[in-house]
């Protein structure tokens, strides 16, 4: 009996007999590819590729703003309320600033607010959601109360109140306001996700392997909800960019920073529409819409990351 089997395996070097080596070869091929696997999946999705390219363009503009912008955005040396011309591509403001330069510098503010507020509110959401979902019991009750509070409180009036009455002003205040008002939704989703993940056998196995609760959350659970966290971050960043623009448009932004929201605010105050300066109004609105669109497009690719079925299209 043994000999029969022994012969069979000894005589096995026929092509295709060893399935393991094939698997290893595939793994090596994946390693030799220069791009990480997740990026390949994102890039392959047409919508996501467009979104990534747009996002990259915005990032480049933001990083190299001083080089790209022809003038200082705060320089008031030009004739006021000029229509677009060769010297001022998008015209000048009622204070005599160059609109195009403001637009370029405004990309910095929007991206900074989007990324920082997005990261901060995602961190809060992950911390609160995971703790509530994993520990359950009294901790969950208390944290869930705060999550619900965050969801129920009308966000816009709260933001306006916080921004209007805060003792300090500035961009960081805006970021803080957006973070404080924007984490609850993400926390709720993450709590729901961890409740389904915490009962997985591998979590029980980690407990039996002697791992601590913090380690189980960080090493066993979080990697399995990474796509959800990324989607949450994209959503928060999107919301933060919109909220910043909204607050600034309402005049609650930081008057010292140039942002697309403050541009719209000033265009409105400066009577851009009455003087026929369409570029002053349309340009910030358009780039804002494009930035938001790029985030949304990237999210299509992130969906494909978490759901293999979407990858085959």
């Amino acid at each position: 009996m043994t000999t029969a089997h022994g012969n069979a395996t000894a005589a096995a070097p026929a092509p295709g007999a060893d399935t393991e080596s094939v698997g290893i070869a595939a793994l090596d091929a994946g390693k030799s590819r220069r791009m990480p696997g997740w990026f390949v999946i994102l890039w392959r999705n047409g919508k996501c590729r467009v979104g990534l390219l747009m996002l990259a363009a915005f990032t480049l503009v933001a990083v190299f703003a001083p080089l790209i912008a022809p003038y200082d955005p705060r320089l008031e040396d030009f004739a006021t309320s000029e229509a677009p011309s060769g010297a001022h591509w998008l015209g000048t403001t009622a204070q005599g600033e160059d609109v195009f330069s403001q637009l370029v510098h405004g990309a910095r503010t929007s991206l900074l607010v989007g990324v920082v507020a997005g990261v901060l509110s995602t961190l809060i959401a992950v911390a609160v959601g995971l703790t509530a979902g994993y520990l359950q019991g009294v901790v969950d009750e208390v944290l869930s109360f705060f999550i619900n509070l965050g969801l129920v409180v009308p966000v816009l009036p709260l933001m306006i109140t916080l921004a209007a009455y805060a003792p300090v002003k500035g961009l960081w205040l805006i970021i803080a306001v957006i973070t404080v008002t924007g984490w609850a939704h993400g926390a709720r989703i993450k709590r729901a996700q961890i409740i389904t993940l915490r009962t997985r056998d591998y979590v029980t196995a980690a407990k039996f392997a002697g791992d601590s609760t913090a380690r189980i959350i960080a090493y066993e659970i979080v990697p399995n909800m990474m796509s959800l966290i990324v989607v949450g971050f994209m959503g928060s960043a999107l919301g933060a960019i919109g909220a910043e623009a909204g607050l600034a448009f309402l005049g609650l932004g930081d008057p010292q920073t140039v942002s697309w929201g403050t541009m719209l605010n000033q265009a409105s105050l400066g009577g851009a529409m009455t003087t026929g300066q369409w570029a002053w109004v349309v340009a910030p609105g358009l780039v804002l819409a494009l930035l938001v669109t790029s985030f949304t497009l990237v999210n299509f690719g992130v969906d494909a990351l978490s759901n293999p079925h979407l990858r085959e299209d």
Binding site: M1, D201, A205, A206, P223, N224
Partner: protein, 655 residues
């Protein structure tokens, strides 16, 4: 003309990230009007893909890349969706693998029937009394007509499955595809549904293609059985013939997984190894690397499906009469003289055998490591304003001893898993005590509990959820080593490699950095076992460790558990509802019914002389293909001889 004719069908998966896989390769078969055909094979052999192709339900990246499927004279492969729609459910219906989830949760059972009827006015000819038709069908599957008013969540798994079956029959289809329709149900319920299905099929006369990995069940039910391996049909014969003798070595291996647990000596066989990678070209026989009777020609020549007796089989040994003389063995010896006509079939021996005659068991009177005394557990659940309490476990006592296996048998909801949770300290008993050596487990708190878990480890039921998909094997095995044994990274890695070798995954270096998704179900279960062994526990609790695995590899895992437990002197609690595996592995059996222990004693005594009605039903639920074979096997001296060598000399399965 046959009702369903599949000619030369090819289905290829062409995923973007990897090479194309020929999941179904030149498959041809027919299903006649009213015929019950079984389609068998292990996971990944292409049987479900074939089923989906027949229903034209393939989704990207799979596609039909060749051949024809003709149903009732119409070429299904060429019809577009609009032409298919009236055919579906009215002519071709199905019960899916996860059909328990296929019922719409927001409408009642009656509305689901009404939907199906309303969608096919042409099939029903206008007016149909929904209540009458649906009620009649529900009665056929032994359900009360009252079920019509229920929502799916108000029904048990078995009831939902019956509803799904009745729903598949509502338009009187001529062909029903059943894709492992009872997977995930309690064995007794499974049995009941399958018996009812067979009866219905005889009465209503629809044709069935029954897909399963469980040869025993298929053989008992089907008129004809087709065995699939690596995308090809390797044997297709009347079930009655196949029970007597299997022509293809793979079929023989599959059938070896069955035995009667009441016999004095029980042995089951398995086929070590894994199916080939179908994304590559293979010149020879696809089964050759795992074949116990392979000859040199098998490596270079691909066998074709040749007519043998009343069916077909794909084996070189059946083509050329020269080779078989060299092989002699069990099936050959057993073959009834009358059937050994026509081209001489290859005598097939099973590759590896796991039998009950294991030695070096722990002593019966050894010092117990775990003592459970008069344990009870009551759950209180909030219901409306008050509480209802459920007594999950009542007054259960037993002991676990080193090197011995105690099987805990019972149906779903009998309290088996609750006992496991009590032993591991995850939950505390409402009364009674659980002792590990001198320690009261039910009184341990936090850090003491964590230390205690070094000694009591779990083997999980589902190998697909027991390993974290994002962590490598080295990490999974390294954690218990570092936490419980205080090893550093290098030591843990070296020990992890040793553990992988112990469970038969060698060379370990190839496996350490793999992710679970790169392993098969059986390999994952080996890793789960290795992880449980890592902290050198004294008690192992295995919660149905083989129920999610293919029948063909179950014996392999059982054997591994057996060896490890005996060699290392671990006390094991084996939770199961499979009496055959309990018989093979366990020294004593405890039967649990509604939380109470109803039978308890040495394995053969409990199983051989089952008194509890549930134990009897479990016994009756074990498929015994070719029951007539069993007494002959147990008695024949030739059989005992081959079985003995197999048990003693088998090698760890080559992977």
């Amino acid at each position: 003309m046959p009702l369903l004719q599949v000619e030369d069908l090819q289905v290829t998966y062409s995923p973007r990230d990897s090479a194309a896989v020929r999941a179904v390769d030149h498959v041809s078969f027919t299903v006649g009007e009213g015929e019950f055909v079984g389609l068998l094979g292990e996971s990944g052999c292409g049987k479900s893909t074939l089923g989906h192709a027949v229903l034209r339900l393939l989704e990207k990246p799979a596609a039909i890349t060749g051949g024809r499927i003709t149903f009732d004279g119409r070429d299904v492969t060429r019809l577009d969706e609009d032409e298919l729609r009236p055919m579906r459910w009215a002519d071709l219906s199905t019960v899916f693998q996860s059909s328990m989830n296929s019922l719409n949760p927001v409408i009642t059972v009656r509305e689901q029937f009404a939907d199906a009827i309303a969608a096919h006015p042409e099939a029903t000819g206008g007016k149909v009394d929904v209540d009458e038709r649906a009620g009649e069908l529900l009665e056929m599957v032994s359900l009360d007509r009252g079920v019509l008013r229920r929502y799916p969540h108000e029904l048990s798994g078995g009831m939902k499955q019956r509803v799904a079956l009745a729903l598949a029959l509502v338009l009187r289809p001529r062909f029903v595809l059943l894709d492992e329709p009872t997977t995930g149900l309690d064995v007794v319920v499974q049995r009941d549904i399958l018996d009812r299905l067979r009866e219905l099929q005889r009465r209503l006369g629809f044709a069935v293609l029954f897909i399963s990995h469980d040869l025993g069940t298929v053989m008992e039910m089907a008129d004809r059985v087709m065995v699939m391996y690596a995308g090809e049909i390797v044997e297709s014969r009347p079930a009655a013939d196949m029970v007597v003798r299997q022509l293809h070595p793979y079929s023989a291996g599959l059938l070896g997984s069955y035995a009667d647990p009441r016999d004095a000596d029980v042995e089951v066989a398995y086929t070590p190894g894994r199916p080939p990678d179908l994304s590559r070209r293979h010149d020879g026989c696809l089964f050759q690397p795992r074949c116990p009777v392979a000859v040199d020609a098998c490596r270079t020549r691909h066998p074709s499906l040749v007519p043998v007796e009343r069916g077909e089989a794909r084996c070189l040994l059946l083509e050329g009469p020269a080779e078989q003389a060299a092989h002699g063995g069990r099936q050959g010896a057993e073959a009834a003289p009358g059937t050994a006509s026509a081209p001489v079939p290859p005598p097939v021996r099973n590759v590896a055998v796991f039998s009950t005659t294991a030695d070096s068991r722990g002593r019966e009177g050894g010092e117990p490591v775990m003592t459970v005394e008069g344990v009870g557990k009551t759950y209180r659940t909030k219901r409306g304003l008050g509480f209802t309490s459920t007594r999950a476990v009542r007054n259960v006592s037993f002991t676990l001893r080193p090197g011995r296996v105690s099987a805990l048998v019972g149906e779903s909801g009998s309290g088996k898993s609750t006992i496991a949770r009590l032993l591991t300290g995850v939950e505390r008993p409402s009364r009674g005590s659980v002792r590990f050596k001198g320690t009261r487990v039910d009184r341990l708190r936090r850090s003491a509990l964590r230390r205690y878990r070094r000694h009591v480890q779990l083997v999980f039921q589902d190998p697909f959820s027991a390993l974290n998909p994002t962590r490598t094997l080295a990490y999974a095995l390294g954690r218990p080593l570092r936490n419980h044994l205080g090893m550093d990274g290098r030591q843990a890695r070296a020990r992890a490699a040793e553990l992988l070798e112990t469970v038969g995954l060698s060379p370990a270096e190839q496996y350490l950095d793999k992710l679970p998704s790169q392993l098969s179900g059986g390999q994952r279960q080996r890793v789960v076992i290795a992880r449980a062994l890592a902290p050198e526990p004294e008690v192992l609790i295995a919660d149905e460790p083989i129920s999610m695995l293919d029948v063909s590899i179950r014996a392999e895992i059982l054997e591994l558990l057996d060896t490890l437990v005996r060699d290392r002197g671990i006390a094991m609690l084996y939770i199961t509802h499979d009496l055959l595996s309990a018989r093979l592995l366990a020294d004593e059996v405890m039967v649990l019914n509604q939380g109470s222990m109803v039978e308890h004693g040495p394995t053969l005594e409990v199983i051989g002389d089952a008194k509890d009605p549930y134990t009897r039903r479990l016994l009756a639920a074990i498929p015994r293909p070719g029951t007539s074979r069993v007494p002959a096997m147990a008695g024949s001296p030739a059989e005992a001889a081959t079985g003995g060598t197999g048990g003693a000399e088998q090698r760890p399965p080559g992977i």
